[in-house]
Amino acid sequence: MSSKIYDFSSLTGSIDAALNSWMSPGLAVLTELVIIGLVFLIFYALLGLFLVYLERKVCAVIQNRVGPNRVGKWGLLQTIADLIKLLMKELIPIRKADHLLFVLAPFIVIIASFMAMGAVPFAKGLHVLDFNIGVFYVMAVSSLGVVGILIAGWSSNSKYPLIGAMRSGAQIVSYELSVGLSLMAIVVFSGTMSLSGIIESQADGWWIFKGHIPAFIAFIVFLIASTAEINRGPFDLAEAESELTAGFHTEYSGIKFAFFFLAEYINMFIVAALGATVFLGGWMPFHIGNWEGFNQVMDYIPSIVWFFTKTFFIIYVIMWFKWTFPRLRIDQLLTLEWKFLLPISMFNILLIAFLVLMHWHF
């Protein structure tokens, strides 16, 4: 049915074949690793810059402002100028800080987000790591970032960062549960943990439509919990600037601060991509049951466009949250998780298991 969709594996396969014809298989694998690494590094940097720009524009329009508009056309080069500024800034060494951990922390945060990125299926066949436990892998890797945040707060040897880091630890450990359970809902529906398998199972309709109300509830829970997991408003307690000045990265300057900043935005992209993949069909075009003509028209839109449209829709919703709501207090944050989200998602997963058992879903 999805035969119309361009498969990127033909492109990657031809590159693989060409490399293998030029050099020994071991060297070819090494070259491929380097190429993929470089492509990802560039993509990572460009995506981070674009997301910062997007955030600034979205919040500006919401707040009746223009937003960045000086550097480049529509201010498109503004974030690049900011990056250059941050690169040139002094890395202020903190006396009495734990220097090794202080330097290590931003790298842990950024590596965690980088690893999670590898498992994101961007388009049909454009998928670096297609694990059979893809969902599990992304969950596990993305929660590594909190280690970096905790280390950053601890090693700064400063009071505000310590409070911020402790808040962040409590928050992510709690919300990890809801994110996991809401993703598990779709795993139960599709019967696989592999991301490509989940996408294939949505060829005749996305899970948010096929899964009745329980899937929709899981989607809402996922949106809320993942917003909390990536430390964004209204759950940005770890860096609540009106309370803790800047939270865990108060003592960081220059490019090390930029790493935290970048990692936050990439994490936002990752959860949005995961949400789009699991609930909204990833790169799968919008299909309705047996409407063959309609489905074929939808197939003409490239799969990579579908993926980025859905991802940026979720990113926009997360931004919309941030620029509307006031921040929660730490006890209310934990109340929301343990009293509302967790019971709801647990009940939800039971309901879904029942639905699947009875074959009531499409």
Binding site: V58, V61, I62, Q63, N64, R65, V66, N69, W320, F321, W323, T324, F325, F340
Partner: protein, 160 residues
């Protein structure tokens, strides 16, 4: 049972209140026409300050390079910050009598708080507020201004 219904009613009330807020911000997101930002350096040509705008103290001169300041010093006395200094000279007039004229009317913009007492108390209405507001300079000595133009003289009819 009651507590369960309360749990759910709280939940739905909460969600609907959040949705009310998101409607407000969402409404502004889809109507970029409501943007109120002024594009400042670009709109210099159209940017008109109000006629009463207190930008700086000026001494209006007419086409004959004449002003109305007699050098009486009332503005200097009334200024709470000492931002006005008047240096007067005595020159003989047509009758041969020595007459007071201003040599320099010095205005320290850096000290001025724009209270308007000098303009209000000037008996000959020699001072006024200018609309200039771009006062940023690299050297603060440039903020000390001599208000009377070189070679200017006293307007005769202003004396009566």
């Amino acid at each position: 049972m009651n507590s369960i219904s309360k749990y759910f009613s709280d939940l739905f009330k909460g969600i609907s209140s959040l949705w009310a807020g998101m409607r407000v911000t969402g409404k502004y997101f889809v109507s970029p026409g409501q943007i109120v930002t002024q594009q400042y350096p670009e709109n210099r040509a159209t940017l008109k300050m109000e006629p009463r705008f207190k930008g700086e103290i000026i001494m209006p001169h007419d086409e004959n390079n004449q002003h109305a300041c007699t050098g009486c010093g009332i503005c200097e006395i009334n200024c709470p910050n000492g931002s006005i200094e008047i240096i007067t000279d005595r020159v003989p007039n047509a009758d041969g009598k020595l007459e007071r004229v201003i040599d320099k009317h010095i205005f320290h913009l850096s000290m001025c708080t724009f209270c308007g007492l000098c303009v209000k108390t000037c008996p000959s209405d020699a001072l006024a507020f200018g609309q200039e507001f771009e006062h940023a300079v690299f050297d603060r000595h440039k903020l000390t201004k001599v208000l009377n133009q070189p070679g200017s003289s006293l307007k005769k009819e202003a004396k009566k």
